[in-house]
């Protein structure tokens, strides 16, 4: 192995993780990552609901504005949005810049997911609700959205996994999250005349994979549970038009995007 020839497998390289300082650094970075993720998760879900409702609105200007917002920010690289937010508005608050950038992009994706979910609720439900004399807001909040969220929960959680992975983009704006810290540790610690890139990457990579697998495990569990529950309403299938025949069971632990994405939203990609 060339790794060991270069001294990357030497015990000293891995011993650095026994120092309390480095452990403390990694723990702090993990907290920073989770903080940004938590803010971004809440932000993207709130924004997602707002945008989805706006796109389904009866008022043309509202609908158009929401559609334009979603289309523009969904087709832009997240990195560019985060950087623009940071330079333009929040140069001194990198955590908020990261959280807001993540919320904008993922909010747009979540809005599309929710919209697909609302559209998948059988028409009769909405008509029945109107026939009972409910107002538009009541129909949306008590009949349509709960069913949309329930049907789309696995997809929503998969998107949260993507959000978690994307917190690592914080390195561009120098937010001290896990990856940025890993880079700092690796480039500031000199062991045997070498920088311990291999060992730090292995350690932080394991942490990321464990976090993501835990979240995708949750998504798979909810999906299985949802399939077992007898609600009487077919769970909305979020496949692209051509993939209805797709086998229902996805790969175990498949975290990212189920092939396709919500129907009638060309170019949506949860990667």
């Amino acid at each position: 192995m060339r790794l060991s020839a270069k001294g990357h497998l030497a015990p000293e390289m891995w011993d650095i993780f026994n120092y309390s300082g480095i452990r403390q650094n990694i723990a702090d970075a993990l907290v920073a990552t989770l903080k940004a993720f938590g803010l971004a998760a809440i932000g993207s879900l709130v924004l997602g609901v707002l945008l989805a409702v706006a796109r389904l609105s009866d008022h043309k200007p509202v609908r158009w504005a929401a559609t334009a917002f979603v289309e523009v920010f969904r087709s832009l690289p997240l990195l560019i949005t985060i950087y623009a937010v940071w330079v333009g508005f929040l140069a001194d608050y990198s955590m908020w810049a990261l959280a807001i950038g993540l919320s904008i992009y993922n909010g747009c994706v979540q809005a599309e997911v929710l919209r697909a979910g609302v559209n998948a609720v059988p028409r009769g439900q909405r008509e029945a609700a109107y026939a009972l004399g409910m107002s538009k807001t009541q129909v949306m909040t008590t009949v349509l959205l709960p069913q949309a969220v329930r049907a789309m929960l696995p997809t929503i959680i998969s998107q949260l996994v993507v959000t978690l992975k994307d917190t690592s983009l914080g390195f561009v704006i120098l937010y001290p999250e896990l990856l940025q810290t890993a880079r700092l540790i690796a480039s500031n610690t000199l062991v045997n005349g070498q920088y311990p890139y291999v060992s730090t990457i292995v350690v932080t990579g394991t942490i990321y994979i464990a976090l993501c697998l835990a979240l995708s495990g949750l998504a798979t569990w909810i999906e299985k549970r949802g399939r077992r529950a007898k609600t009487g309403i077919a769970v909305a299938h979020a496949g692209a038009p051509g993939t209805e025949a797709e086998p229902a069971v996805d790969a175990p632990g498949a975290g990212g995007a189920p092939a396709g994405g919500p129907s009638d939203s060309g170019g949506i990609a949860k990667i």
Binding site: R2, L3, K6, H8, V72, S75, L76, P77, L78, L79, I80, Y83, A84, V87, G88, V161, K165, D166, T167, S168, L169, F171, V172, L179, A182, R183, A186, Y197, V198, I201, T204, G205, Y208, I209, C212, L213, S216, A240, P241, G242, T243, A245, E246, P247, A251, G253, A254, G255, G256, A257, P258, A259, G260, G261, G266, G267, I268, A269, K270, I271
Partner: protein, 215 residues
């Protein structure tokens, strides 16, 4: 407007860089993705295990971390002194290959089982069955998800800019460091990305129209 006119050569280089890295890593992702999808449906358990591990690991690793691996670990083990452009394309290609693999695999799932059985009873080998019978039929269903995967790849290529590959994100940081207002820079970068992504979705629409498979 001034930002663009004053620095048009850099902008053009960035745009070409984005297109190039997208094109090369698309090819890598497509080839690897189809091969790994073949592994995942193959009758050989170790290959299946390898395919599953590949997809699970790559899908749950942040792309940024993968870039770190390719820029700091791969040159140590394999060929030292590879260009950042090549390393970036490889990182992007490997990451995207896991998504391509899942799309292709679900496409294979839509081809009726009888087709593969008939091919096998005619005496075709596994790779012949996959190559001649199943994959051509799966192509049609795979195109829409592939189109969104490649659009995502275009967007992800921005990360390469943070790793000293010449592309549009590099232009954005360069311009804002030179003190231009962020809004017009953002606007031009946005327009450039929209051009690339619209080109990709247009290309796939044409492909879809031309590759219809009668079932």
């Amino acid at each position: 407007m001034n930002v663009l006119l004053d620095h048009f050569p850099e902008f053009r280089d960035g745009f070409i860089g984005t297109v190039e890295i997208t094109a090369i890593s698309s090819v890598i992702a497509l080839v690897l993705g189809i091969v790994v999808a073949g592994f995942r449906v193959s009758p050989v358990p170790p290959l299946r295990f390898f395919g599953t591990a590949w997809v699970t690991l790559l899908r749950n690793t942040p792309l940024t971390l993968l870039f770190l691996i390719f820029f700091f670990v791969v040159p140590e083990i394999l060929f030292p002194g590879m260009s950042p452009f090549l390393l970036g394309s490889l990182a992007l290609g490997f990451y995207t290959s896991s998504f391509v693999c899942e799309a292709v695999r679900s496409g294979i799932g839509t081809v009726p089982l009888g087709q593969a059985e008939a091919a096998r009873s005619l005496g075709l080998t596994f790779s012949q069955t996959l190559r001649l019978i199943v994959l051509p039929q799966a192509t049609r269903t795979v195109l829409p998800p592939l189109s969104s995967i490649f659009i995502a790849l275009t967007k992800n290529s921005a990360i390469a800019g943070a790793f000293s590959v010449t592309e549009l994100f590099g232009w954005q940081t360069l311009m804002s460091e030179q003190g231009y207002a962020i809004a017009p820079i953002f606007l031009w970068v946005a327009v450039a990305y929209l051009v690339v992504t619209f080109a990709i979705s247009g290309l796939f629409r044409v492909l879809e129209r031309n590759m219809e498979v009668a079932r």
